[in-house]
């Protein structure tokens, strides 16, 4: 059957079981949009800015585990996606970005709305393709999906020149995808796994450090089993939150710059770190020379480049976290060791750290709302069962500390790139994937304004996302650093002339609520949840509240500023 390039594109998406895409039309992709106009298989969500399209696709992917797909036009449409692509790349999220391109004969001539998006996005994509010939279009799209979703996942960009989309060809569905330079190792070396078993048996103060890889490889069950078998405590990186229930007595919460005291002390005093699906980011390790100096390090990750990059590793295992943990658990179950008794002293020590310096803040009755209180109430009212997106900064860290994540894929946050403006469109993407779930974006007054235009998207598709703005009138995290390390010189961090968020929500056709007193907090959260529409809640919070504990940049993680 004869098909146009645009027709092959749509057909290939359907073959990849895509039923939802996020996008924004333009000249180079008119042929695709002409088919989308009345295509019954693919739902297109029209965003209001291309950055929103990528973040929404990313949020859709993180929440659902399926790849997120977006379509944008050439030139500015393509360049507007770059922050979204880099966000997905840093956090290993499978997103497919299809960009229009000027017709092949015009490429390189500085044509209208031409941008070398392949060149621009090369450092922040897992892979990218410029399709020059319609005969390779279908194969390329399937390769792109395969690469984005396997191994260490990541964004893949496919650049589609207009003439490739408009010409017709006899279409044949391509055979199985095979890429000779791409063979991720899923299995994990059996000998290395045995070494891990004996290292775990020998350790007296072991700790599991689990990251986003656990969530990506759907291994939270196996991780939980490992912790239960061995009675070893678990700390999560920001990306790992939800991979191990924070309600479990073995949970230490998040570690790192704003991690819990017990988690950071455990990582400092441990004699064995079992690192699973992490990359030892500088926000976790603090000063590298003083990180876990007395510990052996086991590192399990599907990406060999993550291993040994920042910290020297004693037992590296390249493989899929789920597969490796399954094999490891099987071996550990066969070991005769009294895990409870042997780790008793260590767990008691941790308990002491926990009770000496728990996460803490104080909400006084007639004072301003504390942002931590808002998050605790959202946690309580949603019973920890909501999907929570965050922006970046204080709102993100308080969410990580005070929302108790118990299930994977319930926290959507830009961990690696730290993209302000990520949370709201990501929440929209998650709500598209799960129309019946409660989805919150916990935001700051600064971050929310970076992609506020997506209110129109939420209203148009009646996506009842709840945006909880912790409105302190500042770029709070930057202000906190200025307060602590720059002599309180609040240079350009006060956001005066912020709009009235209630009126702004109403202007878009959403619902706006406000809470100014602690006693209003629960009421407005419940009201927002009961409102079947997008809601923006303006929580007027204590302006100069800080996130503690805090490890100053460049210091070892045992040196925390505590409240």
């Amino acid at each position: 059957m004869k098909k146009s390039g645009a027709g092959i594109f749509i057909e290939s998406l359907i073959r990849e079981k895509v039923n939802t895409i996020f996008g924004y039309p333009g000249g180079s992709v008119l042929n695709i949009y002409d088919i989308l106009f009345d295509n019954p298989h693919i739902r297109h969500i029209l965003v209001r800015h291309e950055q929103g399209a990528v973040h929404a696709a990313d949020g859709y992917a993180r929440a659902s585990g399926r790849p997120g797909v977006c379509v944008v036009t050439s030139g500015p449409g393509a360049t507007n996606t770059v922050t979204g692509i880099a966000t997905a790349y840093m956090d290993s999220i499978p997103v497919l970005i299809f960009t229009g391109q000027v017709p092949t004969p015009m490429i390189g001539n500085d044509a209208f709305q031409e941008a070398d998006i392949i060149g621009i996005s090369r450092p922040c994509t897992k892979h990218s393709y410029l399709v020059r010939d319609i005969s390779s279009l279908a194969r390329t799209i399937h390769e792109a999906f395969s690469i984005a979703t396997t191994g260490r996942p990541g964004p893949v960009l496919v650049d589609l020149p207009k003439d490739v989309l408009s010409t017709e060809i006899e279409y044949e569905s391509p055979k199985e995808v095979k890429i000779r330079g791409y063979r991720p190792n899923y299995e994990g070396h059996a000998g290395q796994i045995k070494k891990v078993v004996s290292a775990i048996i020998k350790a007296s103060r072991p700790v599991i450090f689990a990251g986003g890889g656990v969530i990506l490889s759907v291994a939270s069950k196996e991780l939980t089993e490992l912790a239960k078998i061995t009675n070893i405590p678990v700390t999560n990186s920001l990306m790992g939150l939800g991979g191990f229930s924070e309600l479990d007595p073995l949970s230490l919460g998040m570690c790192g710059m704003h991690g819990t005291f017990m988690a950071n002390m455990a990582l400092t005093e441990t004699d064995l770190i079992i690192a699973i699906g992490v990359r030892f980011d500088d926000r976790v390790t603090g000063k590298l020379d003083e990180f876990a100096v007395n510990a052996k390090i086991i590192h399990i990750d599907i990406d060999p480049t993550a291993i040994g990059k920042n910290v020297p590793v004693d037992i590296p295992i390249v493989g899929d976290v789920k597969n490796v943990l399954k094999k490891l658990n099987l071996l550990l179950k066969g070991e005769k060791k009294e895990w409870e008794r042997d780790h008793h002293v260590w767990l008691e020590q941790i308990e002491k750290w926990k009770s000496t310096y728990p996460l803490t803040y104080k909400q006084e009755k007639d004072k301003k709302i504390k942002p931590q209180y808002v998050i605790e109430q959202i946690n309580e009212i949603t019973r920890g069962d909501a999907i929570i997106a965050t922006e970046v900064g204080q709102n993100q860290m308080w969410t990580a500390q005070y929302y108790k994540f118990t299930k994977p894929r319930t926290l959507l946050t830009s961990g690696g790139l730290g993209t302000m403006g990520y949370g709201f469109p990501a929440a929209i993407g998650a709500q598209v994937a799960f129309p019946d779930k409660i989805v919150f974006d916990i935001a700051g007054d600064g971050s929310f304004q970076m992609n506020v235009q997506e209110l129109a998207t939420a209203v148009k598709y009646n996506l009842p996302v709840k945006v909880a703005i912790l409105n302190n009138g500042y770029l709070g995290m930057v202000r906190q650093w200025q307060q602590l390390f720059y002599n309180r010189r609040y240079s350009y961090t006060a956001l005066d002339s912020t709009p009235d968020f209630v009126k702004l929500a109403e202007a878009y056709g959403a619902v706006g609520l406000r809470a100014e007193k602690p006693e209003d907090v629960r009421k407005v959260i419940k009201e927002a949840i009961d409102t079947p529409k997008p809601v923006v809640i303006d929580f007027v919070v204590e302006p100069e509240e800080n996130v503690y504990p805090m490890v100053p940049a460049g210091r070892p993680i045992s040196e925390m500023i505590l409240l």
Binding site: I118, I147, I179, R180, G181, T305, G308, K309
Partner: protein
């Protein structure tokens, strides 16, 4: 330490940019890079000479392997290998020095590949020491220009890359 790394890559446009971008983006150094088609026209072979401690070289080889277009990476430095480089040297050839140039070229088993009333162009192939040595010997006679290919390399014996 200096390492010579052989890389087999897809013979497609954009691959060189990916490799160069990987090195510049991660702050790795490239001393030389040679690339041309291999015996299989769909595959190109690159020889990259780079410098770094063990940790950096490990990252370089891992990062190269991670690129989808890269088919195989071998750090030849870990084994015995031959390496060669070619240089073209355009040297001042006043009548008084022509004999000397011919003699030096001969000693290095080089060739004069172009002649003009005032210049000779000398072609020499060899390992790096040899290339550096002839350049140093010809310098006093007045080198006008040189072009070096950078290093290509292959492991010794029956061992193959691909």
């Amino acid at each position: 330490m200096r390492h010579t790394i052989s890389v087999l890559v897809e013979n497609e446009f954009g691959v060189l940019a990916r490799i160069a971008g990987l090195f510049s983006g991660r702050g790795f150094n490239i001393e030389s890079l040679c690339v041309a088609e291999s015996i299989d026209p769909s595959i190109s072979r690159m020889t990259i000479v780079t410098r770094g401690d063990d940790r950096i070289i490990e990252q370089i080889t891992k990062q190269l392997n991670k690129l989808v277009d890269v088919i195989k990476v071998v750090d030849l430095t870990e084994e015995k290998f031959v390496d060669r480089e070619m240089v073209l040297i355009k040297v001042n050839a006043e009548p008084s020095v022509r004999e000397e140039i011919l003699r030096i070229t001969d000693i290095f088993r080089g060739k004069i590949v172009d002649v003009s009333p005032k210049t000779y162009t000398v072609e020499v192939t060899g390992d790096e020491d040899k290339i550096v040595a002839i350049i140093e010997l010809l310098k006093p006679l007045g080198i006008k220009e040189i072009a070096r290919t950078g290093r290509i390399a292959m492991s010794r014996g029956t061992k193959l890359l691909g």
